[in-house]
């Protein structure tokens, strides 16, 4: 992975910079010792590593502003990071940049139950928001599977999804306001702490969400709270073929039901899981769907009937419906254990997250089977079927020379197949460094140019998280001077990283 060339000049100033930053955040909150910096050298994707120049942990918005201003004045790059659970290398450090860690910005500032809003700092773990309001019968809906650890700031940066976003939407749909610090240290308030607070403004908040830390550092987030659904029930449906299961997904939505979650697991995943949960799945089962329905008790009962009828009509072999919360948890445990179960089958696995139109599921699943043969690597499938978000699990052995490269190439081919059927490179993990060089498969140079021009509006010196998301630097100064007509030729000689 080619990253922007590190500046030896900046690296040589490490101790001076550390001294300056200590003045801002206090001496113990700047980590310069090599051993102590080591845990920060990668995020959730360990294939990419780099030692950060310094790790800085501010404790307030004012400290964040001062740190950014300090770095801006000295031309020092900044990589923001929450808990470091990114699965795309979004928080991969730079050798000539500081790692700005938000873990001390971790308070729930205000819970406004009557207006169903909470204001929280970016370092608050996702789950902690729901915990802070559960006594009020409220919750924060988006629930990425990393929710125990991942921070809301990171969720905003990656526009995190989760199991429930088919019905409840992704992070962006639940954000009402953001307090934003630009690279210069300038503080801005976007939106506010009530519905519609951002109306009549350019939706900068919308574009900040999912911008992977390239545009600014968020220091406070106003999130929508929702009443906790009264009841949730899950139906486990087994099918004799992958195609039948895929068709059932479309049929459920086709009859007008939006499940709270709709998950798919193939036979390989089920075999791996059955060892862990000591439960055998019917021999004829080639694919399993888990469909969760939530709402009031009567509503859910009605929906359970509708979905069960659809599943039977679509050729389901067996249906199991949870009748108690305990049963629901048990049925879900197969899905929750899927990734660790696969982990027991192979030394290493690689998982990516392309997203496709739902009716292209059979086509893309066939392509995966072909690719598996081509690369000689096994794979399993376990994904968010309701929103077409695939998580193919490619199994390999890092100890075998060339295996990692094969797995990466397999993964990239799957993503390209997703784009080719009208899908996207990433549903919820983000582009980061992992999928950066695939961006040209989804977007034309003109599309990418338009996105990168936005960087020039926020951070023209490209100090914030450079080298991520886009395969080229944005060269704001040059873009600004260019007069445009036509398109493609302008970009012919842009050097890639």
């Amino acid at each position: 992975m080619q990253m922007p060339h590190p500046s030896q000049d900046i690296i040589s100033q490490r101790e001076t910079l550390a001294a300056g930053l200590r003045q801002i955040v206090g001496s113990e909150w700047v980590i310069s010792d090599e051993v102590e910096r080591k845990p920060y050298q990668c995020d959730g994707i360990t294939a990419y590593m780099a030692m950060p120049l310094l790790v800085v942990l501010p404790a307030s918005t004012e400290e964040v502003r001062a740190v950014l201003r300090f770095c801006h004045e000295r031309g020092v790059k900044v990589v923001p990071r929450g808990s470091g659970t990114s699965l795309s290398g979004g928080a991969l450090p730079l050798e000539d940049g500081i790692l700005l860690v938000t873990s001390r910005l971790c308070s729930v500032v205000e819970v406004d139950a009557p207006n169903r809003v909470a204001r929280v700092q970016p370092g608050v773990p996702n789950i902690a928001i729901s915990e802070a309001v559960s006594h009020l019968g409220l919750c924060y809906m988006p629930d990425p599977s990393s929710q125990l650890i991942s921070t809301i700031g990171g969720n905003v940066a990656e526009n995190a999804g989760g199991v429930h976003c088919l019905k409840y939407g992704v992070t962006a749909d639940h954000i009402l306001g953001l307090q934003l610090v630009l690279m210069t240290g300038e503080l801005l308030q976007l939106g506010g702490a009530f519905l519609g607070a951002s109306e009549g403004e350019l939706d900068l908040m919308g574009v900040l969400t999912g911008s992977e830390g390239l545009l600014g550092v968020v220091t406070e987030i106003a999130v929508r709270l929702e009443p906790v659904p009264e009841v949730a029930r899950v139906i486990s449906m087994s099918f004799p073929s992958v195609e039948k299961a895929c068709e059932c997904v479309g049929a459920i939505i086709g009859v007008g039901v939006i499940p709270a979650g709709l998950e798919f697991m193939d036979r390989k995943v089920l075999d791996a899981v059955s060892v862990l949960i000591r439960e055998r799945f019917d021999d004829r089962t080639e694919a399993l769907l888990l469909c969760e329905l939530d709402g009031t008790a009567v509503e859910v009962d009605a929906l359970v009937h509708v979905v069960s009828d659809v599943a039977r009509a679509q050729g389901a072999i067996e249906l199991k419906v949870s009748t108690t919360e305990e049963e629901r948890q048990r049925i879900w445990s197969s899905r929750k254990l899927a990734f660790s179960a696969i982990g027991k089958l192979c030394p290493d696995y690689y998982c990516t997250d392309g997203t496709i139109p739902r009716n292209k599921l059979p086509e893309v699943l066939n392509t995966m089977a072909e690719l598996s043969e081509k690369y000689g690597l096994d794979y399993a499938n376990c994904f968010h079927a309701g929103d077409g978000n695939l998580h193919p699990i490619i199994m390999y052995d890092a100890a075998k020379p060339g295996d990692l490269e094969k797995a990466e190439a397999f993964g990239a081919d799957v993503l390209i197949a997703c784009v080719n059927v009208g899908g996207v490179l990433s549903g919820e993990h983000g582009i980061g460094v992992e999928k950066r060089d695939l961006m040209t498969h989804q977007f034309t140079d003109v599309d990418l140019h338009q996105q990168q021009m936005l960087k020039c509006a926020f951070d023209p010196q490209e100090l914030l998280n450079p080298g991520k998301v886009f395969p080229t630097a944005c060269r704001c100064a040059e873009f600004g001077r260019m007069h445009v007509r036509g398109g493609a030729l302008r970009f012919a000689d842009i050097p890639r990283f």
């Binding site: 702490a193 109306e199 009264e230 009567v298 509503e299 077409g388």
Partner: protein, 403 residues
């Protein structure tokens, strides 16, 4: 209401490439462009001063509609009526319930376009249940101020692939790029709908009722307080879902109404007609010489805000939607210069956002139709605009803000 001479050329592109050509021609001739769909909401936002105009009504293609995938892609010029009819045929709907507001502007709502709905980002009463326009725009195609055709987003529900320019363009009133096509997430329309109509009490009591109802997951897709055509002040509660779900939730809501006599229930077409009136502000019935305001605010702050504004003469008539989170009002505007500023100040004091939905061009040009923003935010918005339209060709002035 745009300040365009009727005699001046209005371009009618029929393809995205036409749009790009018109923009590049305008750029090379030093012209600016007023961008509209069919122009039914030109009175929204600040008046545009442009030397040429482009109307996108001809871009009315339906590129694909995949009901099982809950997604549709259409040209920006397709009318909302045509789109909604197509969705209704498959039992689906636009979740953000876009208002036309053409009653306010004296135009024909049947001609309001999808592009206009996305560009203005106005959400209807269902906002409290389903979300805003921005939450359902999955992808866009547009042409920037330099004539570049670009796309952003996609057609999948989940997508973190590059910056979400779709959200940024939503609500940008055509000041960043000309929207030529949009991809929208749609939802199955609820199978059942009932509306409880309850006599209103004081604003405080009704606001408290809204909070009680909103604290429970009851599928309530509409909570408003208005004056009925017969002059009764009433609270409207719309409950949606499956037949049994609605019946169950209705019983729960009725339980919460203990002590309020005289509730009535309307269903189906009658309920739908009622909410169309709310969505279109029909119950406000503003006179031609009145200003019309739309104020977003925390529901808890609403009763005191309305009381103060009425005392100060800033509110003539009003009604409340979004469970108290939005106040629509008329202003007599005897001295609009004074009243506009006074009302804005009142809103600002509690962090509310006051939008002048309708008013004479001169007033909107002088004070700005949109809620004022800080100098820092205005500067960032300006730089963002320059990233799309460095020459300032597109809808100049539409979103300019008074500092």
């Amino acid at each position: 209401m745009t300040q365009i001479q009727q005699t001046q050329a209005r371009e009618h592109p029929s393809s995205t490439q036409d749009v790009a050509d018109i923009i590049m021609d305008a750029a090379s001739a030093g012209h600016s462009l007023a961008i509209t769909g069919n122009g039914t909401r030109c009175g929204f936002g600040n008046p545009v001063t442009a030397s040429r105009a482009m109307a996108l009504g001809g871009l009315d293609s339906v590129d694909f509609y995949d009901p099982e995938d809950l997604v549709i892609r259409v040209g920006a010029g397709l009318t909302l009526d045509a789109l909604e009819a197509m969705l209704a045929a498959k039992g689906q709907y636009l979740p953000f319930e876009p208002p036309r507001y053409t009653g306010l502007y004296g135009t024909d709502g049947a001609r309001s376009t999808v592009g206009g709905a996305v560009a203005t980002a106005l959400s209807g009463p269902r906002r409290i249940l389903n979300g805003a326009v921005r939450d359902f725009v999955l992808g866009v195609e547009g042409v920037n101020g330099q004539g570049d055709i670009f796309k952003a987003g996609g057609r999948t529900m989940k997508n973190v692939t590059g910056y979400d320019l779709s959200k940024l363009l939503t609500g940008s009133c055509g000041t960043l790029a000309v929207l030529t096509a949009v991809t929208l997430k749609v939802l199955p329309a609820p199978r059942a709908e009932v509306t409880l109509i309850v006599p209103a009490q004081t604003l405080e009591e009704d606001a408290a009722l809204f909070r009680t109802i909103r604290a429970l997951p009851l599928g309530v897709g509409g909570l408003a307080r208005r004056v009925s055509p017969s002059g009764q002040c009433e609270v409207l509660i719309r409950i949606e879902g499956t037949e049994p779900g609605v019946a169950g939730n209705r019983a729960v809501v009725e339980g919460l109404l203990q002590g309020r006599e005289g509730a009535r229930v309307v269903e189906r077409t009658e309920s739908a007609a009622l909410w169309q009136d709310v969505r279109e502000l029909t119950c406000l019935a503003p006179r031609a010489d009145e200003l019309v305001w739309r104020v977003n605010l925390p529901g808890t702050a609403m009763p005191a805000f309305v009381a103060e504004a009425r005392r100060a003469g800033c509110i003539s008539r009003f009604f409340v939607d979004w469970a108290g989170g939005i106040v629509f009002s008329t202003m007599r505007g005897v001295q609009p210069e004074v009243d506009v500023l006074r009302y804005r100040k009142m809103a600002e004091k509690i962090g509310a956002k006051a939008m002048l939905l309708r008013g004479p061009d001169a007033i909107r040009a002088q004070f700005g139709a949109f809620p004022p923003i800080t100098a820092g935010l205005a500067a960032l918005a300006g730089r963002t605009r320059a990233a799309f339209d460095p020459g300032g060709l597109l809808n100049p002035g539409r979103m300019t803000v008074q500092a």
